[in-house]
């Protein structure tokens, strides 16, 4: 009887993991639509190509070596299907863990859940370098980022490994529940390194240095993208509980869903009001970024805050993201979709908010963790971008940029007219 219940619990936790993984996979659609909406129509096909290709590259590279670097086990996921004693092993582990102990689920479901996070981190980069980066240089970077850079910092954090044998982040009181720092800030750090080497889009800055707006072509798509991301985030944060199969964890999952939703709402409201006060108009793109900022801010710890705290944390993210976008524009870091502000600035905010509600973490641990992730990802990315710049070139020519990268990179317009 007890074994049957353990089997059911195993099945339920595995099923929960897979469903959450599928939800996070859907975030790839969210990023695609958000980015397609916020670029100009002449760059639509290319940004979509980047998004679909980076997802496939991420999944493949994480399968080849990323997962092994991050969590151990063999390259090419050898052995992940489980041996002949799979059922007996799982039952023994379940009996040992009991009903309120560690998570027991299929190894393959763990890979499936983890792999979609890698793709999320990489999606952040594509938005920031949009409209001017060469397609193939970007994909070459994706190979290194998802096969090595991200798995290394993932090993130090969720993997529990020590940082080059110097210190272990977990012991210092570092806690990042679903990846404000590990996924979002890491993606933003790689993006920032790329943008610094790439430069601003042509026409973004006037001769006197003032920033010009380059409006996105399709705000309905951007809005749809935001909602898809919001929905996918329930898998992102909810799945990071890692377990559903008992009362305590079921409640934890419910709280995480509730807080994730509350933070997104808080972020959107705060950004909308901030934009209204700052610019005098209700800026939809800021509202969209506000919701995402709230989601990023709560991702580091969605399980311990109360619903009100989650709303306020999200609201802080929503206010911060508006100022961050304006500030980055001023210092000539051209980020067409605001990805560095949403995921980097608010990712850091999320990490720093954790110790307020989670006694298991400390401010010093969070700061050291944030620095470790940022420095590692930024420096290694910078080197990779530099090499790519020297070998392939990372930026399209001025003429190609004027004409739109759809034609020069993909030879295909998103909205062809008068063709035969």
């Amino acid at each position: 009887m007890e074994n049957q219940i353990f089997e059911l619990q195993y099945a339920m936790d595995t099923f929960y993991f897979l469903v959450c993984g599928a939800l996070v996979m859907w975030m790839a659609a969210g990023f695609s639509m958000l980015e397609a909406g916020l670029v100009r129509s002449k760059n639509t096909t290319e940004i979509l190509t980047k998004n679909v290709a980076l997802f496939a590259v991420s999944c493949t590279m994480y399968l080849v070596c990323g997962y092994a670097i991050m969590y151990g086990g063999g390259y090419f996921l050898s052995g992940i299907a489980g041996g002949d004693t799979l059922v007996a092993d799982a039952l023994a582990a379940s009996a040992e863990a009991g009903f309120d102990g560690g998570s027991v689920y299929s190894g393959a479901s763990d890979f499936f859940f983890q792999v979609v996070f890698v793709a999320t981190a990489m999606s952040i980069v594509s938005g920031a370098v949009a409209e001017r980066m060469k397609l193939w240089a970007f994909l070459a970077f994706a190979v290194v980022m998802t096969g090595f850079i991200y798995p290394m910092e993932g090993a130090w954090t969720w993997g529990g490994a020590s940082v080059f044998g110097m210190f272990t982040l977990g012991d210092l009181g570092f806690s990042d529940f679903a990846g404000s720092g590990i996924v979002h800030m890491a993606g933003a750090a790689a993006a920032l390194a790329g943008v610094l080497l790439l430069g601003a889009r042509k026409g973004k800055y006037a001769a006197d240095g003032t920033a010009r707006a380059i409006p996105g072509a399709n705000l309905p798509l951007a809005t749809l993208g935001m909602f898809i991301l919001w929905m996918g985030w329930f898998g992102f944060n909810g799945g990071s509980v890692l377990k559903l199969g008992d009362i305590a964890n079921a409640n934890a999952v419910a709280m995480v869903f509730l807080n994730t939703n509350a933070a997104a709402s808080g972020g959107l409201i705060a950004a909308l009001i901030t934009a209204r006060l700052l610019f005098g108009k209700a800026d939809l793109t800021m509202a969209l970024n506000g919701a995402l900022a709230g989601l990023v801010a709560i991702t580091a710890e969605p399980s311990t805050p109360t619903a009100l705290e989650a709303t306020l944390f999200g609201g802080l993210g929503g206010i911060l993201v508006v100022f961050s976008i304006v500030f980055l524009d001023k210092i000539k870091i051209d980020d067409p979709v605001g990805a560095i502000s949403v995921h980097g600035t608010c990712g850091l905010l999320g990490l720093l908010l954790v110790p307020i509600t989670n006694d298991g973490s400390s401010f010093s641990g969070q700061i050291i963790g944030a620095l470790t992730i940022f420095i590692w990802v930024f420096v290694t990315s910078f080197i990779v971008w530099m090499v790519l710049k020297a070998v392939l070139g990372i930026r399209v020519s001025e003429e190609e940029e004027d004409q739109g990268v759809d034609i020069s990179e993909c030879g295909l317009e998103a909205y062809p007219e008068f063709t035969k």
Binding site: G203, L412, E413, P416, T419, K420
Partner: protein, 112 residues
């Protein structure tokens, strides 16, 4: 009075607008258009098969000016829109028989 119609490359619009403001042109009308000239179209690829794009995107600027501004206007547009490459566009000049400012009812040179 003259009506100057210029077809130029889209990304040269800002330059042309600035050049025209500088010489004192009071207003222009801009339309996104498509067409072909000597540059012809180009071929694109869809599922491995080629298709022809006969008409390329251009911007059409229309400027109504007094006769005294004509030479300056033509020079400003020519200079601003020139890249030296095929497809830079053309300028057409036509006589303008009457201009009326709707708000005040002014006519002729005063309304330009």
């Amino acid at each position: 009075m003259k009506l100057v119609t210029a077809i130029i490359k889209p990304f040269k619009l800002d330059d042309a607008r600035e050049a025209l403001s500088e010489i004192g042109v009071q207003g222009i009308t801009v339309t996104e258009v498509k067409g072909f000239g000597r540059q012809k179209g180009h071929t694109e690829l869809y599922r491995g098969a080629e298709y022809v794009v006969d008409f390329l995107p251009k911007v059409k600027i229309e400027v109504a000016i007094g006769d005294d501004l004509l030479d300056q206007t033509l020079e400003a547009i020519t200079k601003a829109a020139n890249t030296g490459k095929i497809g830079d566009g053309k300028i057409f000049v036509a006589d303008l028989t009457q201009v009326i400012r709707i708000r005040t009812g002014e006519t002729g040179e005063a309304a330009v």
